[in-house]
Amino acid sequence: MARSNSTVKGERLKPQRTGLSDTNLLLIITLAVFLVMYVAAVVFLGSGFRKPQTFFNMLNENAALIILSCGMSIVMITGGIDISVGTMTALVCMTCAVNLDYQSGTIASAIGLALMIGVLYGLVQGYIIAYLEIQPFIVTLAGMFFAKGMTTIVNADQFNVANESFQALKLTRINVPGMGSVNKLGNYVPAYVEIGVIVAVVIVVLLFVLLRWSKLGRNFYAVGGNQQSANMLGINVKRTKFLAHFLCSVLASIGGFVYFLHVGSGSPSHASGYEMNAIASSIIGGTMLTGGVGNILGTFFGVMSLSTIKNIVSSLGLDEAWWSNITVAAMICLFLVIQSVVLLRKNKK
């Protein structure tokens, strides 16, 4: 007892167990739910789900969404949001379609155009959000409106692209080695994926590495976790946010081209509602809108989970259009409640 004005403070706290981080915990939940759902579908619904091609078709259908969702996850991890990606996809489709068919463009020029749209979008939206500090929701809402209007200004009607080299690329199928099934005639049909899937998988792997092992990736998490702290720790918060939004827009343009490659047409109604699908996939994949928590692998399985549930609904014979939407909504609801309960309980401990 040396000091007269001493402070009364807590005793030494014992070291705590290293628990699961929030990110990993949510990833595990997502993986578990996806597996349970898929296995249940294989066991109970049989036929269709047993074919490997069913799985690969899900990939073919959703390659673009996977890419969009990855971009969305990155923005969400930094604590932002981007609701312009859906209509951007439509804009990219329409621009590429017009370029290929009306302006005798090549595939290279179309890809160039798509990327240019992404880069421009990224620069403008990123600058306004990060350096002028305007709420991302409003900025990307304007971006969404802009792309929507621009699409019809470029061309108001839907049309299919006739360009031959594009058609060849669109129809390119890559067989999956060792996978396949026997069709009704008794012939062996190998399972295949489209080019877009390869792009999507490469992007998922690259982004996974980026988020886990690069300084920039960890800065995304830090900024999302606590912006002020990240600044005090010496992270350039504005640049980090700018890069997140820039990356998201560029990914949206790549996703837009992959979508274009899958559908082969331009239309103002393409990819409508994709921004919300991307957000839903990210959430199911364990990314939190509050920032700082999320995982690209989770996002990938988030997209696949959504797709699986839609397939299950249609193979149950519930054909009316509304069932699919209602089940998807129910699933988002379920996930949110699981996440909120798990995290609340964990934090209480």
């Binding site: 500090e133 709420q135 409003i138 900025v139 209007g149 259009a321 939407n325 909504a329």
Partner: protein
Amino acid sequence: MKAGRLEPREKQSKLRSLFRRQIFIPIAALLVLVIFNLITNPSFFAVKLDYNSAGNPVFTGNLVTILDNASELAILAIGMTLVTAASGGQDISVGAAIAIAGSVTLRVLCGDNARPETLQAPIIVAFLVCCVASMLFGAFNGTLVAYFKIQPMVATLILYTAGRSIAAWINNNTLPNISEPSFGYAGNFIPGIPVPTPILIAIACMIVIALVLKFTTLGLYTQAVGINPNSSRLNGINPAFIKFITYVILGLCVAVAGFIKVSRFSTINYSVVAKDIEMDAILAVALGGNALSGGKFNMAASILGAYVIQFLTTTLYAFNVDSSALPAYKAVVVIILVVLSAPTFQQKLTRLKKKPKMAAAAKEGN
């Protein structure tokens, strides 16, 4: 007076000008639009008294169109402002919820028959059922946000996804059509009154909310909860309930807007009705200068924001802009508005202005 502080009065006037600034943006935007329209077309604001097909006197003109069409948006902006203030997030399901509200109304009026000869229930009953249903859906959103602590945008994503499907399911995917003319009163004209009814309904809603804010503590509570829920709780407020109740109020706004929407056309198209209106409603709140992260709000500014949006739309139509290309122009205007009103941008501007002055001052000092 300590040396380190400025005169209180000087500080106060600065604050007052700040306070003014929030409502300043929507008003300035309105003024610019008015002047722009007056220059390009002096007769833009002319209001004429015409007779409609039923032989009733009605006012027509751009001004009437703007006020008429903005009614639903203005009503939604009321609820959206409260939700934003209390929960620091937005409800993106209002468009889908309007589809449900309209569908419920028609279901009650039509019963199982999509083309009823006579109405199956009084219109007022249909409206009340519609209110109850919408408030229930609002309560659903409110429960997720307030009690499960899910971020508002995510929580309302559920109803956003399912809402239009639920609306279709309520009427078995048929498109009911009501021939009874009195059903159209709410969305068009009441015989003998030349002002479109939606304008009157919107004014009524504004009066109600003004009275509520004046004679209850809703305003103080929502702001306190939005700024600091911990502190609010320790001062005896129930933050979860306040958040919950704002969603129910928004549900009521949705019911009124939905009822006007179906009354306008006497039918409904589930996938198109009130499409993207949630985005416009959020935009109205933001144009009113309210922080989308919650806390302090200015109701009048939000409502003005709704009229700015409609004014802009009508102006663009007057320039023969194609309706599907409209969003692109709207986006440009919105971005200009929010950038101009952003504090960071204003700081940058003042810094640019100040720089030469400061350099001069530094020279003198040395």
